[in-house]
Subunit: 332 residues, 2 copies
């Protein structure tokens, strides 16, 4: 059983959109317990249909601090997201789902949690769709740059998360080419260290073109690149779907033939959309936080809550910490 | 009329594949002149069918230097690619197409050419497919990192190339988000400078998800990110095509319905493939060099020769130099 806090005010949509997704999740999963945090006037109309395993807590939306998260560090706030973090800190909940800005989540993790000694800044990890299996990729933009020790820490985090599913996760390091002499110094240093890392199923450098092949368990990269790779794939997919749409709407013959096919293709291609694989783990601290996309709604927000539940049952936070400790000893 | 040198030994395939593409191009474009450089035994069997506007020059393939390009700097080589560069230097040809490794091309540009004072290292620029129009993106991997002055130089190069087609090219700078406060310092410095740049149609930060929208003329980024963004899109497209293929081969009903549709979709989607938009301009020196993909053949290699011809007729090299001079004065 996971006790899951849900911040109703992060993201683009707010409570009226996030509450129905949450209700659905907790109805489907009666063994989990939900704590929905938001303005009482926003959830009042929902209380009557509320599943028994959900409680509401009244708190205000975050104000201007969203654009200047450092302000959050100075005084105790009463916002919904800060209320959630206080519950996490007090262990009143096990895990938290929020669509709040990354900057806000990072600030509050440093305020209420504790980072592992190897981590300067939390790391964003998420699951990419792939042909064979889904791949965990990190960092996805919590930092802009990663030196070689941070890249090693990301690897430890990735292994920590994947250990619950597979004994010896296959790891790749993203670079411009697969040859060992390629790439900037921090990547070549990390590559050399990973080759020596005992018990690691390390596959060496990989290129961004094979990110979606699904033959790896963990892909390690700096946040700027990781974020760009995912968004580029989203853009390419959007372009593909709009070309499909144009093509299939052109001419009566085509429209008739295509009607049935269109549905089929659309749903297959939609599966690839990184946006529907919603819910990134904010890793490297003692608090378990899942960041939902700001524009996630319906099934996508539901998926983020699912991630939170499986992160708790998989004991990701502890498992990550164990791997980081191991790396700490290796580097000492 | 452009005098175009073609290095027959760069890339994965060699003369027997590259010669037919070249023949086709010069047959279709009898006003251009081709100089094909490679081992005589490799082109001997082709000489009889050779179009009149093509001549062959005998030279050896490059040896081990491909993996250690610095060796090329020490002594005068007799390889096909170095022969091409000597012709470029002596102005016996106007432009060069080669599928040689980027490192080799960069070394030989510094040996036989002259870089503009603002450029430390040549810059790779290429055209991305898009819904509305094709977009020029740079750098695509000649450098790993770019400081803010390099990003400004990339902008000047992009404008230089696009000026021949459009009076006021729309420029975007790739970042993790569109807000001005986002991103690493070099991007924020470049953004601030570009906003002040007179006569520039600057659209601010853009995210990798809008790279393929085709609403910009020039997208500026560092080489590591640019390379990753393109390869990620290639990977996403491959995945999409293989899902399409699986879906459409599944079941008799589907196969019958889909036969005609499949051809249509495939050709439309293929158009998006960055690989078919082959031929990157290696910019920032007084020599005009087009880099073909190592795995380009047939229509793709043909496209690279087309790029060389239009780079010459568009006077890209001079136009880039003019824009870099302007920037030099602006920064002085």
């Amino acid at each position: 059983m996971a006790r899951i806090a849900i911040d109703l005010h992060g993201g683009d949509f707010g409570p009226s959109i996030l509450i129905p997704s949450s209700f659905q999740f907790f109805q489907d999963n009666p063994h989990h317990h939900g704590v929905l945090v938001g303005q009482s006037k926003s959830f009042r109309s929902f209380v009557r249909q509320c599943p028994q395993n959900i409680e509401f807590i009244d708190a205000n939306p975050l104000g201007d601090e969203a654009s200047r998260p450092s302000r959050l560090l100075r005084k105790t706030g009463t916002s919904s997201i800060e209320t959630c973090f206080r519950m996490l800190e007090m262990q009143d909940v096990d895990t938290l789902v929020s669509a709040e800005h990354t900057g806000v989540l990072l600030a509050l993790i440093s305020k209420y949690g504790q980072l592992h000694a190897l981590i300067n800044r939390p790391v964003l990890a998420s699951w990419l769709p792939g042909l064979n299996k889904s791949t965990l990729m990190l960092d996805l933009g919590a930092s802009y740059f990663a030196n070689h020790e941070q890249l090693l820490a990301y690897t430890a985090i990735g292994i920590g998360i994947k250990k619950s599913q597979t004994n010896s996760p296959a790891v790749g390091l993203l670079n411009l080419g697969t040859e060992q002499f390629k790439g900037p110094p921090e990547l070549r240093l990390a590559d050399a260290a990973l080759h020596k890392w005992s018990d690691l199923n390390y596959k060496g450098f990989i290129e961004a073109s094979s990110v979606f092949k699904g033959d790896l368990d963990v892909i390690v990269t700096d946040g700027f690149t990781g974020n760009s790779v995912i968004k580029s794939a989203e853009g390419a997919l959007d372009l593909t779907l709009s070309i499909l749409k144009n093509k299939l709407n052109h001419g009566v013959f085509s429209r008739l033939l295509a009607f049935w096919l269109k549905q089929q293709l659309k749903s297959s291609l939609k599966k690839l959309d990184p946006r529907l694989s919603n819910g990134a783990l904010v890793c490297g601290s003692n608090l378990q936080v899942i960041k939902s996309h700001g524009n996630a709604r319906g099934k996508a927000f539901y998926t983020a809550i699912e991630r939170a539940a499986s992160a708790h049952s998989g004991q990701y936070t502890t498992s990550i910490w164990v791997q980081l400790d191991k790396l700490f000893d290796e580097l000492a």
